[in-house]
């Protein structure tokens, strides 16, 4: 038993050596490039796997995620309570608590008015305090901590890497912001049901699923958009163009897609009545899409030159979505975004056309489009290799993957991503997070990136377990130079890191200040491991993909 760790270390070193040997050559470079873009970070073992089965076979397997067993990720995700609760349940509980709190506050404020002699405002009643405590379980910070941690954990752990990366792309494309009202209870369901099942399906299906999901209906106000003159319950209203505008500008045609303000208005009119039921409402329904005929504008309207006849209902909206999903501008817009995100910051127009053609030819079959993206020769163009800077989310997840760190609920990671500006579900703008390198690189961000690397390496992020010495361990016998080379091969397979190697070697040979010799040795070894790992993860090379 005593020998076992040594053996492990020895085997690890052997494996690392073999990986280092294999990750040379043009095919290895292509495999690494594919992994850096189609997964959340390439590890030597991943490169070996792709080399063993071939890039196309690897891709085809990833394109059928249901056929990939994913027990580790599924087990880990069970530990996040917020994921286990239905959105209707959470909203219902929230509304009940709100009602109770409002009643209690009413009582409290009446008390203040009556008790004029007391200059101080009345303290919160027991009822208010109780409601507040119950509310805390549904408090935004705790929910977001859970959801974002789960999002990171899945990205790190799942075997269905491509599905997860594409889920991120499409969620961001059809972004819904956690911070708008009840959307904090809805975003997890939205991702699980409106986005993830469709990432290799038809674009039209995903478009329809997002259009009908309460999260989107609430986020972009379509739920309360009603025909001019329709009498809606309570106060308000009239037409709200919010969703219609983003549907055209962001989700489908693109800002230069050739539509007019009148088109926006008419799309909004076509979608009037697309709403959702609240739990505990009169009908006793759950939280689900509903079409409210009385709120629908049934007059004739023209969208992009296409006539929608008078006297119809929900089919108006369906027809608009059909029209938009098949529009060539949509194909180009999606193709452009894919190339910008997965290939280069300045998309090659020929590549965009190539993908747009596949989109049109297959009627928006996203499996075919994704396959075309990652199999095109243009994807492997010299100008594309290591040409993108990782976004903060990519940086964090790839660092966790290559170091084999174990993550769970982590305030440290959530705070890191918040500081770096890319916390999952937290993009307020309908456009989601940008994907070009220069959107994520500025002086403050670089300080934060380096500090993240140091904090991770030193094990200072709560909720993350990392073994810096194990990663940097190598065999005790091997010299520091070899160990650094192995470390860099592990973290950045296939990357030329000669200069970095020399820098790290210089930096880890700092004496320790501890008192006695054994402590000094132990400290020095740990210090060296932490410094080497921190410098490597914070290095310019690790920022690129």
């Amino acid at each position: 038993m005593i020998r076992a760790p040594r053996l492990c270390v020895f085997l690890t070193a052997l494996l690392a050596n073999s990986a280092a040997a294999q990750t040379a050559g043009p095919e290895a470079a292509r495999a690494t490039h594919l992994l850096q873009r189609a997964t959340w970070g390439a590890r030597p073992a991943d490169v070996d796997a792709v080399l063993a089965m071939g890039r196309t076979a690897w891709l085809d397997r990833q394109l059928e995620p249901r056929k990939i067993d994913d027990p580790a990720a599924e087990a880990r995700l069970k530990s996040f309570p917020s994921l286990q609760r239905g959105m209707a349940e959470m909203v219902a509980e929230f509304q009940r608590l709100q009602r109770e709190r409002r009643l209690a506050a009413q009582v409290a404020s009446d008390t203040v008015v009556h008790d004029r002699r007391d200059a101080r405002p009345a303290r919160d009643s027991a009822a208010v305090r109780a409601a507040r405590r119950a509310n805390a379980a549904l408090a935004p910070q705790l929910l977001l901590l859970d959801l974002a941690s789960a999002r990171i954990t899945r990205a790190v752990e799942t075997e269905r890497q491509l599905e997860d990366v594409m889920t991120d792309f499409w969620y961001n494309h059809f972004n819904v912001y956690f911070g708008k009202g009840i959307d904090r209870f809805l975003v997890a369901d939205y991702e699980a049901n409106a986005i993830r099942p469709h990432v290799f399906g038809r674009f039209r299906d995903m478009l329809g699923a997002t259009a009908k999901h309460p999260a989107m209906l609430f986020y972009l106000d379509n739920a309360t958009s009603v025909a001019e003159g329709a009498i809606a319950a309570g106060r308000q209203r009239g037409l709200n163009e919010n969703y219609a505008r983003e549907l055209l500008e962001l989700h489908t045609l693109g800002v230069d897609g050739g539509y007019t303000q009148q088109d926006i208005v008419n799309v909004a009119r076509a979608l009037t009545g697309w709403s959702f039921t609240r739990p505990g409402g009169r009908a006793g329904d759950g939280l689900a899409f509903t079409f409210r005929r009385a709120m629908h504008d049934a007059e004739e309207k023209v969208v992009l030159g296409h006539r929608l006849k008078a006297g119809r209902g929900m089919e108006d909206g369906e027809e608009v979505l059909d029209l938009l999903a098949r529009h060539p501008a949509t194909a180009r817009h999606i193709a452009r975004k894919l190339v910008e995100r997965f290939v280069t910051d300045q998309p090659d127009p020929a590549f965009v056309d190539e993908l747009a053609d596949v989109f049109i030819r297959t009627d928006g079959d996203l499996r075919a489009v994704t396959r075309a993206l990652f199999t095109s020769e243009r994807f492997y163009a010299d100008a594309a290799m290591r040409a993108k800077v990782k976004t903060p989310f990519e940086l964090v997840v790839s660092a966790l993957r290559v170091t084999g760190a174990e993550t769970g609920r982590s305030r440290g990671l959530v705070q890191t991503l918040r500081m770096l500006g890319q916390l999952p579900y937290n993009a307020a703008e309908p456009a989601g997070y940008p994907s070009a390198s220069d959107d994520w690189v500025n002086s403050g961000a670089m300080v934060n990136r380096m500090n993240f690397a140091l904090a991770l390496a030193a094990g200072r992020l709560d909720g993350v377990r990392i073994d810096a010495r194990g990663i940097f361990g190598g065999s005790a016998a091997s010299d520091p130079k070899t160990r650094i080379r192995l470390l860099l091969a592990q973290l950045m397979p296939g990357v030329e890191t000669g200069t970095l190697e020399a820098t790290i070697l210089r930096e880890i040979s700092q004496p320790s200040s501890s008192a006695d010799q054994p402590t000094r040795d132990r400290d020095a070894r740990r210090q060296a491991a932490v410094r080497a790992l921190g410098l490597a993860l914070g290095s310019p090379a690790f920022q690129k993909k």
Partner: protein
């Protein structure tokens, strides 16, 4: 001489020598502080939509009292305490803002009332976005208005032997704010907090600082920062290389500015809250002369839907912290306030009518404060739209008679010398004739 180049070579010389000789440190500082622009703008964002009608109370408008009960602040009166503090016979300061009252008397505090966005949204996130990008209704704007100001004001190039037209790359450096005169480019725009606010995001370098005391790479272990500096040395010219370079430069300057020497001026007490601490660190940076031109500070807690309170209570406590914090900063900066303008802002106001839970809901127009030496204070600016039902925006809210962009434009044009109004406020024609004249031109 090319001071930027001096600073850079200075920084690397320090690193190469390991320990900075005193004379070099002093001359480095002298160069940067002398070159630093003297003018500073401090923006305070009241997130959550402040009730402008209770911040500066229109006690002369009878409709105010018709709409407010539990939250009403009584008109000033010699006989009674806890009333609004009279400003001009019509408007009064909330009593919890009393710390700012004598600034008004000294003509250094101006109020702009009924200011806000022309966009009707009552969503916090939309309205904050619109205010911070300064493009109401345009969601595609990615960068913040203050970042565009930094980019615009960075082009007074004094690089030796080079002029703006001397090369595209050089000009582009300036246009994007990568190169500034004096100090580190990234120190020109500072946001206090862990997140970079949208107002400050964009291509011009800016720094978000959660806590000045611990700001840096690698915490106490200074060797890590040097190690990273060397690691990034091979990246010169790339996008991450230049950004890292800017960061190291900023950190180096902060280190040698000897921030630890700072003590607040005698008798100045900042509130012991995150907001108070942020303001204290803003003063620390400004007094250290590291070249801060725009500082941004957030203060939350204004979304008073329930139990807002009146003379005392929830909102009064927020006002108290706000006013004591600003006043401490003001007194701490002392004479330096001659070159500083401080402006408050909030995404929208709140309903004129009080709701059923002793609070106010999301409204439209609000008020903003502008203060500092360059301010033509002692006056409440703006056309008062009135609070009678037919005078209200959508029959419920204070209307907007000053577009916030006109106020912002006046401040950055007059105080910071910004010129490209069309680039800072895209899609909106800034007409100097609409400026309220809040600053002495």
């Amino acid at each position: 001489m090319d001071r930027r180049c001096f600073v850079k070579s200075g920084v690397f010389a320090l690193l190469a020598l390991g320990r900075p000789p005193g004379f070099l440190t002093r001359s480095l500082l002298a160069q940067t502080t002398a070159a630093a622009r003297k003018k500073t703008l401090i923006c305070i964002f009241q997130r959550g939509a402040v009730d402008g009608l209770n911040m500066v109370i229109p006690f002369g408008d009878a409709a105010y009292y018709a709409n407010r009960r539990a939250t009403a602040i009584r008109a000033p009166s010699r006989a009674a305490e806890n009333t609004a503090i009279d400003l001009d016979g019509f408007f009064g300061l909330h009593p919890s803002l009393s710390a700012l009252h004598d600034l008004y008397g000294r003509n250094e505090l101006a109020i702009v009332h009924a200011v806000g966005s022309p966009h009707p949204t009552r969503s916090h996130f939309e309205a904050q976005d619109f205010m911070e990008t300064a493009t109401p209704g345009m969601k595609s704007t990615r960068d913040g208005w203050l970042n565009r100001v930094l980019a615009d004001t960075a082009h007074d190039c004094q690089c030796s032997g080079r002029r703006l037209e001397d090369g595209a790359a050089h000009a582009a450096d300036h246009a994007s704010g990568q190169v500034a005169m004096g100090g580190a480019a990234a120190l020109r725009g500072i946001a206090m907090g862990s997140e970079m606010p949208r107002s400050m995001r964009g291509r011009a370098p800016t720094l978000a600082i959660a806590d000045l005391d611990s700001f840096g790479v690698g915490g106490r272990d200074a060797t890590m920062q040097d190690a990273f500096t060397r690691t990034y040395g091979s990246e010169a010219g790339t996008i991450i290389g230049s950004a890292a370079d800017g960061a190291f430069e900023a950190l180096q300057i902060l280190k040698h500015a000897d921030l630890a020497r700072y003590r607040p001026a005698a008798g100045v007490n900042y509130p012991t809250t995150p907001f108070g601490r942020s303001l204290r660190q803003v003063a620390q940076l400004i007094k250290s002369g590291v070249g801060v031109e725009i500082a941004f500070v957030d203060i939350g807690g204004w979304d008073t839907h329930q139990a807002q309170g009146g003379v005392e209570g929830q909102l009064a406590r927020r006002f108290d912290e706000l006013a004591r914090g600003i006043r401490a900063l003001y007194d701490d900066l002392g004479d330096r306030m001659d070159d500083v303008v401080l402006m408050t802002m909030s995404e929208f106001g709140r309903t004129v009518h009080e709701n059923g839970t002793g609070g106010t809901d999301h409204g439209h127009g609000t008020c903003m404060m502008v203060m500092g030496g360059p301010v033509r204070g002692g006056k409440v600016y703006g056309d008062w739209p009135g609070l009678q039902p037919e005078q209200l925006y959508e029959r419920r809210d204070l209307d907007v008679t000053t577009d916030f962009r006109d106020l912002f434009a006046e401040v950055v044009r007059t105080h910071l010398g910004a010129t490209s109004m069309d680039r800072i406020f895209p899609g909106y024609a800034i007409d100097p004739a609409r400026a309220r004249g809040v600053l002495r031109g």
